[in-house]
């Protein structure tokens, strides 16, 4: 997905002193060329790994996180103190078994948990990037991850997996670097962001930008924080991650610590109180500008558009002999029946495109009423499918049951 490079000056920076653990400065030798045409000379990626890389470096699994996720996949979160966001999927004995696989997850570029993004200091100015940070895309996130994977000496990832925006990165990985991905699991995702989803993101962005404390994006320099706007953005988004039946089951019309409605605008209902809590706790761990950048990256995502409007073309690979073949990557798409943000039809569109090139693809829709967030929750059937797919491919790839034995 190379777009023409515009006349934008390169943003080179001094790479600075030694790196703290789990963070690396990349792009020193050759810059990261972004879709916008901007080049990032040196940029930091925060990442985490679990498990041990085997001798022939064939057991690496890359986990791609969602919009507000980060690289703390399977451990206590340093800011919130909560358990890892995917500790049902990743860990010893889990479908992505850390006794067997070497798991990598990096905070996306544009993020706010240690990777280069609008919150970090632009060395050229000594001030936070703010809105001077270049607009990034899903493909840019993947380019940055590829540099990290190569830095770790891994030529092919055994598996790339992620849900939602993570699933977009998974698809992008398979399309951009098919030779570097053995198998992949794009979960609760789509090959493009729908108009409805762009609309929801726009509501969130407008909420942030309408907050006077946002200060045109310069709040970090002006020592303010658009917490109200960001909280509203989170509240609106959070509704889209759930489903009507799940909200009803959880809250119904139950009142919050009161026996009757108050004829006022307090949080009378439990669901209001819950959403307010979601909003307030979110602003403690997330940067408002990062939210703008990452939602934008999702909005711009459209794999078919990058391939002449035909999604199937994204999954054709031209060999050294000039002959086009189906992508060698083995896919397992999973969707959730009550997900209305990334409904099953979106996954099915990807499956149809993969079938059209006779690629190797599995697809399961998991029955659940938990909505989009189901991929983060306890859905035994989902993990059973993921485990089966990973196990089957690990055997085929010749990966033994423990990393040490390989």
């Amino acid at each position: 997905m190379e777009r023409p490079v515009t006349e934008t000056p390169a943003l080179f920076r001094d790479c600075g002193p030694a790196e703290p653990a789990r963070s690396i400065v990349l792009g020193k030798d050759s810059p990261l060329r972004l879709d916008s045409g901007v080049e990032l000379g040196c940029f930091r990626l925060a990442y985490q790994t679990y498990g041990t890389l085997n001798a022939d470096r064939s057991n690496a699994v890359l986990v791609c996180h969602a919009l507000t996720g980060d690289h703390f996949v399977a451990e206590k979160h340093p800011v919130t103190g909560k358990p890892g966001w995917w500790n049902l999927m990743v860990g010893p004995g889990k479908p992505i078994d850390t006794d067997r696989f070497f798991v990598i997850c990096s905070n996306v570029i544009g993020g706010c948990l240690g990777s280069e993004g609008p919150k970090e200091v632009n060395p050229a100015t000594g001030q936070p990037w703010g809105l001077s940070f270049p607009v990034i895309t899903i493909a840019d996130m993947v380019r940055a991850q590829k540099m990290l994977v190569e830095h770790l000496g891994i030529r092919q990832l055994f598996c790339v997996i992620g849900g939602s925006m993570g699933g977009m990165q998974v698809l992008q990985w398979a399309v951009s670097y098919p030779e570097m991905v053995y198998c992949c699991l794009p979960i609760a995702t789509a090959a493009r962001h729908s108009a409805q989803n762009i609309a929801f993101h726009e509501v969130g962005r407008q909420a942030i930008m309408a907050d006077p404390e946002w200060r045109g994006g310069d709040y970090l320099n002006q020592n303010t924080k658009p917490t109200k706007g960001l909280a509203v953005a989170r509240m609106a988004a959070h509704i889209t991650y759930l489903s009507e039946p799940a909200l009803h089951r959880k809250f119904g019309r139950n009142l919050q610590n009161r026996a009757a409605i108050t004829f006022g605008f307090d949080a009378d209902f439990q669901v209001e109180s819950y959403l307010r809590h979601q909003g307030i706790s979110f602003v403690e761990r997330f940067d408002a500008n990062s939210y703008l950048y990452i939602t934008r990256a999702m909005d711009y995502f459209d794999l078919a558009a990058d391939h002449g409007g035909v999604l199937a073309n994204a999954f054709r690979v031209k060999g050294a002999d000039g002959v086009e073949r189906p992508t060698p990557v083995r896919f397992c798409l999973i969707s959730f029946s009550s997900d209305w943000l990334f409904p099953t039809n979106e996954s099915r569109a990807v499956v149809h495109a993969l079938n059209a090139v006779a690629a190797n693809v599995s697809f399961v829709e998991v029955e659940t009423d938990k909505g989009h967030d189901a991929f983060l929750l306890d859905e035994p059937e989902f993990y059973q499918v993921a485990r089966g797919f990973i196990e089957g491919n690990a055997q085929r790839r010749g990966l033994t049951s423990t990393a040490k034995g390989a």
Binding site: A356, N360, V361, S362, E365, V385, G388, Q395
Partner: protein, 206 residues
Amino acid sequence: MAISGPHIRTDLESITAWVDEGARVLDVGCGEGELLYALVHRKKVDGRGLELSMDGVRRCVGQGLAVIQGDADTDLKDYPSNSFDYVILSQTLQATRQPREILEQLVRIGRHAIISLPNFGYWRVRMELLLKGRMPVTDRLGYDWYNTPNIHFCTIRDFVMLCQEMGIRIERSLILGADEKVVDAPADSGRANWWGEQALFLLQRT
């Protein structure tokens, strides 16, 4: 799919025997993956499956098989021509809405198609209708008329004639009678259509 009972094993065994080692195989209506699993592990095929029931799909993927949820009536058109060596439709054609279109798709997608069918011309079926005047319910066709998923029954003769009409060559056939004993008769014979409880065909587009 539909037909249950101990008979299914022999049916699948014969199909397994017909498929070449290492071939590319699409199993349409693969159920819980019994045949596909056997083909992948015994014949080392590059196997894919298409299955309507989500339960079946989950079981298959959970065993490491490459299977997608989909409907043979609508989804086969997405597959490119000649993308598989064998496309298998086992005991499913009679349950589809458009058997003729499906048959066309099968021989388009695969260099060969393998189809197995229950025979509505089987003598017991004929007797049931003749003597009792009721829709036949046998071991192999164990549904009442109002709840059967099998909406497009045919006899072996019907199927052979359809193949002729569509220019499809029957490369090989196997007629199984009572207790799955092989009926030694060509597929287009009256004996096959009388004694055969089910039939297997290896087909090719001409």
